[in-house]
Symmetry: C2
Amino acid sequence: VLGAALDLLAQDGPQALTMRALARRLAVAPNALYSHVPSRSALVDDLLDGLLEWVDPPDGDEDPVVGLTQVMTSTYVALTAHPQVVPLYLARQGARGPNAVRLGRTVDDLLVRAGVRGGAVAQARRILVVHTIGAAAFATSAPDTDRPISAEESLANFGQSLRWLLTGIVGTASTDDAEPGAPRRRRR
Amino acid sequence: VLGAALDLLAQDGPQALTMRALARRLAVAPNALYSHVPSRSALVDDLLDGLLEWVDPPDGDEDPVVGLTQVMTSTYVALTAHPQVVPLYLARQGARGPNAVRLGRTVDDLLVRAGVRGGAVAQARRILVVHTIGAAAFATSAPDTDRPISAEESLANFGQSLRWLLTGIVGTASTDDAEPGAPRRRRR
DNA sequence: ACCTGAACACCGTTCAAGT
DNA sequence: ACCTGAACACCGTTCAAGT
């Protein structure tokens, strides 16, 4: 149905995802699509939320910082796995579908378990989401002035910055209302 | 000339910035615009780089971490001051004009002065840029599930996360190849 | 240098009608 | 439920021609 839209995206880029082109690929009249999807923007929304389907939820019983690292990294990987979708994601400025909501709740839970309290939870979540989408956008964009960056490098960049952010987030929380290092289960 | 494009953007949103609408506003034929601008995408590029004109360059002799905070915050402010332009910025995935290049060099200089070395400079710059654009995008986007966020809150979010990132960046640099705190000019 | 008229090859979407 | 034909109101861009 709308899996053809993904094919079209992967093949010809986000620019080429038009209702008419999609209809052409499915060998139907352009307006036939409106029997399956209310509008082009709804189609894009479905596409975006569908991508988040592939994000692994963490096991639920490990160190919350490890869990956060897993979720955000998994999101980053899911986004960068479909480079052509990321620009659409940016144009929509984030997804609003059920998967996006579910993911937000998961992150909030982990933040709470990591010792973040009250309004800082939403703040920290927003920062993490911003950063992850932004990083995915840059990783999947054409290189500007620099030499091209490998996928491994991009992932390393992301991992590094994520570590810094998480250190800042739980560090602030723990110095405010917990023992230093308290959220961690074990020391190594 | 193309200041009318900014007016049109501010008034009717990024969606409405079309060559034909712009021509209508200027009371000329649509194709008359091609005497002033080679194409629509060139027009958008000029718009984006023009926005970066407003970023304050730091004084050049203060603490590099303070300088970085100033530059990135100024960039964030410049971006959020023109909310309608930010989506275009995202669609283009960053600017490639002269102002963008100049800004990149400024950031690199500050990073070097902060003790970051070699390949970590480009990595750190990329992270900072990603984060700043991402934060501006979220600040200027419509609220999704949450209650609306005030401009002050957004700026506070950004300042907080920027502090964390900078701590991570210079912290890593200084523990690797410098005395702890060495990049700082003075202690308070 | 800057503009116009006319045209080309596209868009998303709707409406009425068919099976 | 799913499709088609025809139409509406748009796009960006080009070409030839005018001043």
